[in-house]
């Protein structure tokens, strides 16, 4: 890096408070977070979790959920068996674990 360019960068950035380019839209509610995205035909998803803290699943009756108007799909872990679901597998028993284990990021 030549001396002139070093001097310019030093003057503009190093040791300086640089205004953030994204702040104006984030401060005025014009950011686009994942939940803000809307596309035509987009479906909503809802997760149903076990009402008890620990138990053994013997059967899941999905007929009532599937009969509701507007429901496109009701999925359980069985439906995901054919897919590679790395993100969910870090806490699964090792015999089901098809991937390296990922620690939680935060």
């Amino acid at each position: 890096m030549d001396d002139a360019r070093t001097a310019t960068m030093t003057g503009r950035y190093i040791g300086q408070r640089v205004p953030r380019k994204e702040d104006a839209r984030l401060l005025t509610g014009r950011g686009t977070y994942v939940d803000d995205v809307g596309v035509p035909g987009m479906l909503q998803v809802a997760f149903h979790r076990s009402p008890i803290a620990r138990g053994r699943i013997k059967a899941i009756d999905l007929s009532a959920a599937r009969a509701l108007p507007g429901v496109h799909a009701v999925l359980t872990a069985e439906d995901l068996a054919g897919y590679k679901v790395d993100m969910l597998s870090f806490s699964w028993p090792s015999r089901w674990c098809r991937c390296r284990c990922w620690p939680a990021a935060a």
């Binding site: 702040d23 984030l26 005025t28």
Partner: protein
């Protein structure tokens, strides 16, 4: 399933809608009125991200039903800046003091500070800090938020070096 006709003034615009009784104000503002600047973080009144101003008071819109807002005047973060883009003093203070990182918690903080500083008298620092305790920032950018809040109280911000810690 109950249906209710409501009329709400949002950022100076009148919005008519028929809503279910169970619809929260936050979901109404985001999904029906299109104010996606209203951020829903925890959905149970803890994180403060969904804060809006209803008839002059800062409220958590996830803890209020849309039907309860019938006939009120609501300001969301989209309604604070001037039409020419000039930021509201609260927004400008947060920008000047680097009081945001990812910006998700920011709309709620902006609305709380805007409600506190709307009166003729400047709020006391302790009052503002107490109000800010109702907002969670997971970027942990609290020092910048704190500097911006103190500036709004009329206290000149210290340099970033001095303010750390």
């Amino acid at each position: 399933m109950s249906r209710h006709d409501i009329q709400v003034h949002i950022n100076g615009r009148t919005q008519h809608a028929t809503v279910e009784g169970r619809l929260t104000l936050s979901d109404f503002l985001r999904g029906v009125a299109g104010c996606t600047g209203v951020h829903v973080g925890c959905e149970h009144g803890v994180c403060g991200a969904c804060t809006v101003i209803v008839d002059g008071a800062a409220v958590r819109s996830c803890l209020m039903l849309a039907v309860q807002a019938d006939g009120t005047r609501i300001t969301t973060v989209e309604g604070l800046a001037d039409a020419d883009g000039t930021l509201h003093p609260v927004q400008q203070a947060l920008r000047d003091e680097y009081g945001l990182q990812c910006g998700f918690c920011t709309p709620g903080i902006v609305m709380t500070l805007a409600a506190l500083t709307a009166g003729a008298t400047r709020p006391e620092p302790a009052q503002v800090m107490n109000a800010l305790s109702g907002h969670i920032c997971r970027c942990t950018g609290y020092q910048g938020i704190r500097r911006a809040a103190l500036r709004l109280c009329g206290i000149a911000p210290s340099s970033p070096e001095q303010a750390h810690g």
